[in-house]
C-alpha cells in the first residue's frame, strides 16, 4: 500500500477535525475535533518519517501525544468547570469578555 494513502487519510481526518471545531457548539465535541486534528497530524508525522527513513517524525509524534494528554486534562477540567457554573457546555455561551 502506497504511503500516499496514509497522507490522504491524515488530511481527511484533519479536515473532519477542523470542521468539528469550527461548526459544532458542544464543547466536548469541539474538543474531540481538536484531538482528531492532533492525531491526524501524528499520522502525517509518522508517514513522513517512514518516507524519509529517519526517526525524527516518530519521536515528534510521541511529543504530540504527551502534549495532547496534558491538554486533555486541562481542557476537560475547563469544560467541566464551565458546565458547573453555566449549566451548559456550549462554547457560544462562553462570551463574557465580549463588549
Amino acid at each position: 500500500m502506497s504511503l500516499t494513502n496514509y497522507l490522504v487519510l491524515s488530511t481527511l481526518l484533519f479536515t473532519i477535525g477542523t470542521m468539528a471545531v469550527l461548526l459544532r457548539r458542544n464543547g466536548i465535541i469541539v474538543f474531540m475535533g481538536v484531538e482528531l486534528m492532533l492525531n491526524a497530524t501524528n499520522l502525517a508525522l509518522v508517514t513522513f518519517s517512514r518516507m524519509h527513513g529517519n526517526l525524527d517524525g516518530q519521536v515528534f509524534a510521541f511529543f504530540v501525544m504527551v502534549v495532547a494528554a496534558a491538554e486533555v486534562v486541562i481542557g476537560l477540567a475547563i469544560i467541566v468547570a464551565i458546565f458547573r457554573t453555566r449549566r451548559s457546555a456550549s462554547v457560544d455561551d462562553v462570551n463574557l469578555l465580549r463588549n
Binding site: 469550527l22 461548526l23 457548539r25 469541539v30 462554547v91 457560544d92 462570551n95 465580549r98
Partner: protein
C-alpha cells in the same frame, strides 16, 4: 558728551570709602536684621490659627527686634572713624556657576543703615497701629505675617551687597505688596488691584534683570564693589544702557511715569499697608536703587537726565492727579507719587542731589506714614468712608488725629520749621544748580519743582480742609448709615503722635550743621557747594509764596465756602485728573488691548492647529478601532476560523515563494 565733563562728574567717587570687615558682635550678626522678621513670618504662616491669639504681638516684637539690632549697628558705625563706615559682612558662597561666583553678603553703610532705621522704626510703629486697626479682622495674624515678610524683604533689599541679592529683596517686597494689596481679595476689584501692581512691578523687574545681564556681560561680576569699581573702564553707551534699565526698574517699584498707574489702585490694601509699603518704604526702593547705583549714573549723563525728566514728569503728574481725587487715600497716593518724583529728580541731579533725595525720603517716610495712619484713623471713625466730600468738620471730634495730621500737612507742604521744609527746600535749590553746558536745565527743572511745591500745598491743604474743616457733610441715616465719628484707640493714636513728632523735628535736627549729608558722604561722595542760578533767598521766598498761595486757594475753596457733596462736573483737566490723566486708558489701548488680542489669537491658533492635530489623530484611531473591534465577537469558532485562515494564508505564501 565730552570727556572733560565725564571725568569731572566722576571725581566725587574717587575717594569713596573702601569696604572693611565687620567689627563687633552686632555688625557680625547683621544677618539677624533680616532673619528675625523672616522667621517670625514663617512661624505665623505655618502655625496657622493656633497663633491667632498672640500672632500679632509676635509680629510687633520681630519688627521691634530688627529696629533694636539696627540701632545697635548704627551706634557701632557712628563710633567708627569716617573712613571705616562701609562694612561688608560676608555670609556664605551663594552662586558659583561658570564664570560667576557670587557670595551672599550684607553691606552696612550710612545709606543702608538710614533705610534700616526708617524701615524698622516706621515699620514697628505701623505694626503697633495695625494691632488696633485690624482688631476686627479674623485674619489679623496672616496680615502680620505678610507685614513681617515685607520688613524682612525690604531689609534684604537695602542691605544686599550685590545686585542679585538686592533683586531677591526687590522681588520679596513685590510679593509682600501683592499679598497685602489683595489682603481682602474676596472683593474682586481688590484682587485685580493686587494683580495690576504685581504686573506693573514685573515690567520694572525686567529692567533690573536687563541691567544685571549687561553688568555681567561687561564686568563679569554683580557685587556692588566690583561693578562700581569697573565703571571707570566702561564705555558711556554701556553705562547708559545699564542706567536706563535701572531707571525702568526704579519706575516700576517707585510708581514713576510711565509705570505709575498701579499705586492709586494699591490703596485697596488695608490702610497700614498703604502707610508702610506704598508711602514710606517700598515705593522709595527705586530712589534707593538710583542713589546706590550713583557711580553708574555718574558715567552716564544721558541716563541721569532721563532720571531727572522722569522725576519731573511724575512730580507734576502726581500733583495734578492729587488736586482732583476725592478719595482720601487715593489723594495721598497721588501725593506720594509726586513726592517720590521730587526724590527721583534730586537723585538724577547727581552728587548735589543724592543726599537730599535720601533726606527727603526719610522725612517723607515720617510725615506721609503719619498722614496715612491719620487717614486710617478717620476711616476707622467714619465707618470706612473714604470720600472726602462726605467728611468735613472732623477736627472737633478727632482731636489727636487732627493735630497729628495737621503737623504732617504742614511738613509736606514745606512750612518752616517742619521737616518737609528742610528736605524739599534743598531739592528745590539743587534743581536750580547750573549744569555745565546746559543752562536750560536749571531753569526748567527749577520751575517744575517750584510749581510742584505750589501744587503740593494746594492739594494737601484741600485734603486737610475737606476732611477736618468746613461744615459736616457726613452720611445720614436716610442715606444708609449715620456717622458718629470718634477718636481711635490709643494703640492707633500713639504711633501717629510719634510720627507727628518726627514730622515736626526730624528735618530740623538732621540738617543742623549738615549732619545728615555728612553722614551719607562715605556713600554718595562729597560735593563742593555751588551757587544756584538764582540767589538762595529768592528761591526760598518764591517757594514760600507759592506754598502760601496754594494753601490759601485751597482754604478759600474748601474751608471758607461750601463743598458740594457730589463732585461737580469740573473742567476737562479736572475730569482727566480724576481718571489719573487717562493713564489706564492709554495703558489699555497701547499694551493691555494688543496683549489681550495677541493672547486670544494664540489661544485660537492653539485650539485650531495644535489641538486640532492632536484631536484629529485621536479621531482617526478611534474610527479604525471601531471597525476592528467588530472582529472580536466572542465566538470561539470564529476565532478558530480566523486562525485557520491565517495558517492557510501562511502556507500558501510559503509554498508560492518556494515555487
Amino acid at each position: 558728551m565730552s570727556v572733560h565733563t565725564l571725568t569731572a562728574a566722576r571725581l566725587p567717587f574717587a575717594d569713596l570709602a573702601v569696604p572693611v570687615a565687620p567689627s563687633g558682635p552686632w555688625q557680625e550678626s547683621a544677618w539677624l536684621l533680616v532673619a528675625v522678621p523672616l522667621v517670625s513670618a514663617a512661624v505665623l504662616l505655618l502655625a496657622g490659627r493656633r497663633s491667632d491669639r498672640w500672632g500679632h504681638w509676635l509680629g510687633v516684637a520681630a519688627s521691634a527686634a530688627s529696629f533694636v539690632i539696627g540701632a545697635l549697628i548704627l551706634v557701632s558705625l557712628l563710633q567708627a572713624p569716617v573712613g571705616e563706615r562701609v562694612v561688608e559682612v560676608d555670609l556664605f558662597d551663594w552662586i558659583s556657576a561658570g564664570q560667576l561666583t557670587l557670595a551672599a553678603g550684607l553691606r552696612l553703610d550710612p545709606l543702608s543703615l538710614t533705610f534700616v532705621m526708617l524701615v524698622t522704626f516706621v515699620g514697628s510703629l505701623i505694626h503697633v497701629y495695625s494691632v488696633a486697626y485690624m482688631d476686627a479682622d479674623v485674619d489679623r495674624r496672616r496680615f502680620f505675617a505678610y507685614l513681617n515678610l515685607f520688613v524682612a524683604a525690604m531689609l534684604l533689599l537695602v542691605l544686599a551687597d550685590s545686585f542679585v541679592l538686592l533683586f531677591m529683596g526687590w522681588e520679596g517686597v513685590g510679593l509682600a505688596s501683592y499679598l497685602l494689596i489683595g489682603f481682602w481679595n474676596h472683593r474682586t476689584e481688590y484682587a485685580v488691584a493686587a494683580k495690576k501692581a504685581f504686573i506693573a512691578n514685573r515690567v520694572g523687574d525686567l529692567g533690573l534683570l536687563i541691567a544685571m545681564m549687561a553688568m555681567f556681560a561687561t564686568v563679569g561680576a554683580l557685587d556692588f564693589t566690583s561693578v562700581f569699581g569697573a565703571v571707570g573702564s566702561m564705555d558711556t553707551s554701556t553705562a547708559t544702557i545699564i542706567g536706563l534699565a535701572l531707571l525702568l526698574a526704579a519706575c516700576g517699584k517707585s510708581a514713576q511715569f510711565p509705570l505709575q498707574s498701579w499705586l492709586g489702585d494699591a490703596m485697596a490694601g488695608p490702610t497700614p499697608v498703604s502707610a508702610l509699603i506704598h508711602a514710606a518704604t517700598m515705593v522709595t526702593a527705586g530712589v534707593y536703587l538710583v542713589v546706590r547705583s550713583a557711580p553708574i549714573y555718574e558715567a552716564a549723563p544721558d541716563a541721569q537726565l532721563a532720571v531727572v525728566v522722569v522725576g519731573a514728569i511724575t512730580l507734576l503728574f502726581g500733583a495734578i492727579v492729587g488736586c482732583a481725587k476725592d478719595d482720601i487715600k487715593k489723594a495721598l497716593a497721588a501725593s506720594t507719587m509726586s513726592q517720590i518724583g521730587y526724590m527721583m529728580l534730586a537723585a538724577g541731579l547727581g552728587p548735589v542731589g543724592y543726599a537730599f533725595a535720601i533726606f527727603h525720603l526719610v522725612t517723607h517716610g515720617f510725615f506721609k506714614a503719619g498722614m496715612f495712619l491719620g487717614a486710617g484713623s478717620v476711616m476707622h471713625g467714619m465707618n470706612d468712608q473714604v470720600d472726602m466730600r462726605r467728611f468735613g468738620g472732623l477736627a472737633r471730634y478727632m482731636k489727636i488725629t487732627w493735630v497729628t495730621f495737621g503737623l504732617g500737612w504742614l511738613a509736606i507742604i514745606g512750612v518752616p520749621p517742619f521737616s518737609g521744609f528742610f528736605s524739599k527746600d534743598k531739592i528745590i535749590e539743587a534743581a536750580f544748580m547750573p549744569v555745565a553746558g546746559a543752562e536750560w536745565r536749571a531753569w526748567l527743572f527749577g520751575s517744575v519743582v517750584l510749581i510742584g511745591a505750589g501744587l503740593t500745598a494746594f492739594y494737601m491743604s484741600r485734603l486737610f480742609f475737606m476732611t477736618f474743616h468746613g461744615e459736616k457733610r457726613w452720611t445720614t441715616a436716610a442715606e444708609g448709615a449715620e456717622q458718629h465719628p470718634h477718636e481711635s484707640p490709643r494703640l492707633m493714636t500713639w504711633p501717629m503722635v510719634v510720627l507727628a513728632v518726627g514730622s515736626v523735628a526730624l528735618g530740623g535736627l538732621l540738617s543742623i550743621g549738615g549732619v545728615f549729608t555728612t553722614w551719607l558722604e562715605p556713600v554718595v561722595g562729597h560735593t563742593e557747594h555751588a551757587d544756584p542760578v538764582l540767589p538762595i533767598p529768592v528761591i526760598m521766598a518764591s517757594t514760600l509764596v507759592l506754598v502760601l498761595l496754594g494753601a490759601f486757594l485751597a482754604w478759600r475753596q474748601y474751608a471758607a465756602s461750601t463743598v458740594p457733596q457730589v463732585a461737580p462736573a469740573g473742567s476737562a483737566l479736572t475730569r482727566a485728573a480724576r481718571r489719573d490723566l487717562y493713564q489706564d486708558e492709554v495703558n489699555d489701548a497701547v499694551l493691555v488691548g494688543p496683549g489681550a488680542y495677541l493672547t486670544r489669537s494664540l489661544v485660537y491658533g492653539d485650539r485650531q492647529v495644535v489641538d486640532g492635530a492632536v484631536v484629529g489623530v485621536a479621531h482617526v484611531t478611534v474610527g479604525i478601532a471601531e471597525r476592528v473591534r467588530k472582529l472580536q465577537n466572542g465566538y470561539v469558532r470564529s476565532y478558530a476560523a480566523t486562525m485557520l485562515a491565517g495558517a492557510v494564508v501562511l502556507l500558501v505564501v510559503v509554498l508560492v515563494t518556494r515555487i
